[in-house]
């Protein structure tokens, strides 16, 4: 859903959901997370992703 014109940077309150514009967005986010996450974190991110999913579908990112 588009952000209403009444919502501006001076009034951002609300809930939003990330837009997956391309099928490989999950892979990109995983790469990005691994780039910035703390070395102390024990979380090991494993991506289970079907490369055939269409844009707008979700990949599965699991720990």
């Amino acid at each position: 859903m588009a952000v209403p014109e009444a919502v501006t940077l001076k009034n951002l309150s609300g809930s939003y959901t990330m837009v997956w514009l391309k099928p490989d967005m999950g892979i990109f986010l995983l790469t990005f997370l691994n780039f910035v996450r703390t070395n102390k974190s024990r979380t090991k991110l494993i991506l289970s992703y079907n490369s055939r999913v269409s844009a707008g579908s979700s990949g599965q990112l699991s720990a």
Partner: protein, 140 residues
């Protein structure tokens, strides 16, 4: 995986804008809470995913960014008319235990004819640079 942001924006007694952003955990990744204070002053926060992060957030304009620096050119790219003509939010953050620095500009971009809340993000770690644009739909 659905990535959701719950944003609460308010003004404190000194007239300073605060933006509290809760990102609930999903698919085994811990949830996070970012607390942004738009006064340009440094503050430090502990984040379960990103570690200890020192950062500051301020109002600026796109014209304040360089036209020659490649990172600045990315940060100021693709904004809608309203964002280009008004103030934007710029955030700078540096990891105190993982060696990266990040800059973000927040505003609105038009994607397939729809207005989206957007963050242009540049992260540097050593000699590596990653640039990403994150778009968000409005739920309520």
């Amino acid at each position: 995986m659905t990535v959701t942001l719950n944003i609460k924006q308010y003004v404190d007694d000194d007239g300073v804008i605060h933006i509290d952003i809760e990102q609930p955990g999903a698919a085994g990744i811990k949830g996070t809470v970012e607390k942004r204070i738009l006064n340009g002053e440094w503050n430090e926060q502990e984040n379960p995913v990103f570690g200890t992060v020192k950062g500051r957030t301020k109002w600026t304009t796109l014209s304040a960014l360089s036209d020659s620096d490649e990172d600045d050119k990315f940060l100021k790219s693709k904004w809608d008319q309203q964002t280009q003509e008004g103030d934007v939010i710029e955030s700078y953050a540096e990891s105190l235990n993982n060696g990266w620095v990040a800059r973000q500009v927040w505003g609105f971009q038009e994607v397939n004819g729809a207005r989206k809340y957007t963050r242009n993000v540049v992260v540097k770690k050593g000699s590596e640079t990653k640039r990403v644009t994150l778009h968000y739909d409005y739920i309520a």
